[in-house]
């Protein structure tokens, strides 16, 4: 394995430092307590510091002798569309009801593929809506209203 400066290593280290650091800052806002009675902040503070330390070590090693991994392309369209679809589902399931939420989520997700044709997407979304209504609401008796309050029904 060839070893040299590695962008993925530095990025991974940075993510660990960032998240660990955020938890450390947050933990300082809670009571730390004593060793006998540790407060709610003590354990996250310890683990957060460990994550920061490990992140620094990974990033540091990545600058000198990192692991050579090809990062590869990022499917920006898929990332954006899938995140949007999932957030949409969470936000509207109570408000629009099961059927419209599922239909829009399914259509959005289908569009994540760069190769899909609109007609195919609509057909797939329709099929998935019917299938999931049958499986989850009819079959598994999920207690989610089919049509929600936003539709005025």
């Amino acid at each position: 394995m060839e070893r040299r400066r590695s962008f993925p290593d530095v990025l991974a280290g940075g993510i660990f430092v960032l998240i660990g650091g955020a938890f450390v800052v947050g933990a300082l806002g809670y009571e730390l307590g004593t060793p006998t009675r540790m407060g709610p902040g003590a354990f996250p503070l310890l683990v957060g510091a460990a994550v920061v330390a490990l992140g620094l070590a990974i990033a540091g090693k990545g600058l000198i002798a990192g692991e050579v991994i090809s990062f590869g392309p990022i499917p920006w369209r898929a990332v954006a569309v899938i995140v949007l679809a999932v957030l949409f589902f969470g936000f509207t399931i109570r408000r629009l009801g099961f059927v419209p939420t599922t239909a829009v989520t399914a259509l959005l997700t289908t569009l994540a593929s760069a190769r899909v044709r609109l007609l195919t997407a609509v057909a797939v979304a329709a099929g998935l809506t019917v299938a999931s209504t049958l499986i989850f609401v009819v079959g598994l008796q999920l207690r989610i209203p089919l049509w929600g309050p936003w539709l005025g029904l």
Partner: protein, 501 residues
């Protein structure tokens, strides 16, 4: 014979009509999803988990176990027929299994895998029934300090077997532990890291973490290089192995079963190690090593048996210590907790019907698997033809609906998106997601026992090294850490995993 009494209790529970029925449904669903290309057992179990929550605990856990076996067998089918293993342990099966399929011998390869899995499952179930009670009684002597060290040991050992550098695996575990602290503090009730959102008081749901890390992140990776996959699935004919085949698979199946049953107990991926070891052993002792990689039936039978035996014995640390040996077991812990049962040494005494029923159902699951898979192989082959453009929206939609239906909490759904992106970026940087999930599930246990041990010892941290069990476990953890970091061993790990690429 206490063992027989216990097994009788187990079978009387597991053979109840509804339990057999749901075990069957579980195996069927597990195989159906597991056979889909690119979806391994962890993703399958994570996706189907919410379905089981509406049943009684015994039925739900039996169904879940059924899903797990089905998913594993489905993964092997995909590996053999189209060379797309859903997870690393099936990668070994693909080496010779797919080669056999290309020579028109897919039938015997599938049959060898099914028969091997069945034999291994039967033997390992007995091993589990025999080994669990004594281990559970030892575990009852554990104090909080011992438990803390045990959990730490389990987490550290899991990095020794993970892919990628030890440093990154360690960081992933710590990150998982850290994310596990979100929500109300167990001792004081103080809400931590919740941004004043009441929905986060219960913490982040582990199903969201699992679905995001294993489902969404995997889909994003598959969408990087979209190409029309031309799947050439050959017709499966002549399912039954020839007399020569049957003679050749007996010994590999038995050796694989022994290896798998022993290695499956190890935390953090014993089943992967088991399949690789079994393949290496068969290749070494074979009279025809040149046939390996060119369609040797021993190379399918051995690893498949090892894999299945390990899947069974990985329930031992879960049921006796409450420690998950791999991500699927972490999901099982979550399922236990949803049903109000704390997995650990008490289950065997408090819920004997559940404990022994689960063990008996493992064997029933294996029988169903054999009865189901060989006749239905035509159906599974057809599942392989589902285009990805239909498949991935279905996975995401079902994951969102399933996760939402757990608690009717929109934040659980938002968490999927968060962990999907986090997992995707970290995987691209060479960090494996499994240690994060293990850390996330075990983190609260680690914190609880650390704080309890320190309360008992009045703040004296030396309790961890003065109690013999705890000291021994910490020494083992340290040894495991050294082994994981040592360069020579790292090189050997690279060799083991190089065959997988």
């Amino acid at each position: 014979m206490e063992l027989l009494d216990n097994l009788a209790l187990g079978f009387s529970t597991a053979l109840l009509v509804q339990n057999v029925l749901y075990c069957f449904v579980g195996v069927l669903l597990g195989t159906a999803v597991g056979v889909l290309p690119g979806i391994g057992p962890t993703a399958t179990v994570a996706m189907l988990l919410p379905i089981t929550f509406s049943f009684e605990p015994v039925t739900a856990l039996i169904m879940l176990a059924g899903i797990y076996y089905g998913a594993q067998y489905g993964g092997s089918t995909t590996a053999i027929l189209i060379n797309l293993p859903g997870e690393s342990s099936a990668a070994v099966t693909a080496l010779d299994g797919h080669e056999m399929a290309r020579q028109g011998r897919a039938g015997p390869a599938l049959a060898a895998a099914a028969i091997g899995s069945f034999v291994a499952g039967t033997v390992a179930t007995v091993a589990l029934a025999a080994a669990a009670p004594p281990l559970a009684s030892v575990a009852l002597k554990f104090g909080p300090a011992d438990y803390f060290s045990l959990v730490l040991f389990g987490l550290i050992v899991s990095i020794a077997l993970a892919r990628g550098t030890a440093l990154k695996a360690l960081a992933m575990i710590a990150l998982g532990v850290l994310l596990g602290t979100v929500g109300q503090d167990i001792y004081t009730g103080t809400p931590r890291f919740v941004f004043e959102q009441r929905e986060l008081y219960g913490g982040i749901d582990f199903v969201s973490v699992a679905v995001g890390l294993f489902g969404v992140a995997e889909i994003l990776r598959n969408l990087e290089n979209e190409q029309t996959r031309t799947v050439i699935v050959s017709k499966v004919t002549n399912l039954w192995p020839t007399r020569e085949d049957r003679r050749r698979i007996v010994a590999p199946i038995l050796r694989g079963t022994g290896l798998g049953a022993a290695l499956g107990v190890l935390p953090g991926g014993g089943h992967v190690l088991a399949s690789f070891t079994s393949y290496a052993v068969e290749k070494r002792i074979s009279k025809r090593p040149q046939e390996f990689g060119r369609g040797a039936i021993e190379g399918v039978a051995g690893p498949e048996s090892a894999n299945n035996a390990a899947a069974q014995t990985s329930f031992i640390p879960l049921l006796t210590l409450g420690l998950p040996a791999h991500p699927v077991m972490a999901l099982m812990i979550g399922a236990f907790i949803v049903h109000g049962i704390t997995p650990g040494p008490n289950v065997i005494n408090d819920e004997p019907a559940l404990f022994w029923g689960l063990i008996a159902s493992m064997w029933i699951g294996n029988v169903l698997l054999l009865l189901l898979n060989l006749p239905l192989i035509g159906l599974w082959v057809r599942m392989l033809r589902i285009p990805y453009q239909v498949l991935f929206p279905m996975i995401i939609l079902f994951a969102a609906i399933g996760t939402y239906s757990l608690n009717f909490n929109a934040y659980d759904v938002y968490a999927i998106a968060f962990f999907g992106i986090l997992g995707y970026v970290l995987i691209k940087c060479g960090c494996e997601p499994a240690p994060l999930l293990l850390g996330f599930v075990l983190g609260p246990l680690l914190e609880e026992n650390l704080r309890r041990a320190l309360i008992i010892s009045r703040g004296d941290p030396s309790v961890f090294v003065t109690r013999p069990i705890s000291a021994a476990l910490l020494a083992l953890a340290l040894a495991a850490l050294v082994v994981a970091v040592l360069p020579t061993i790292r090189r050997r790990r690279a060799v083991v995993f190089a065959e997988e690429e």
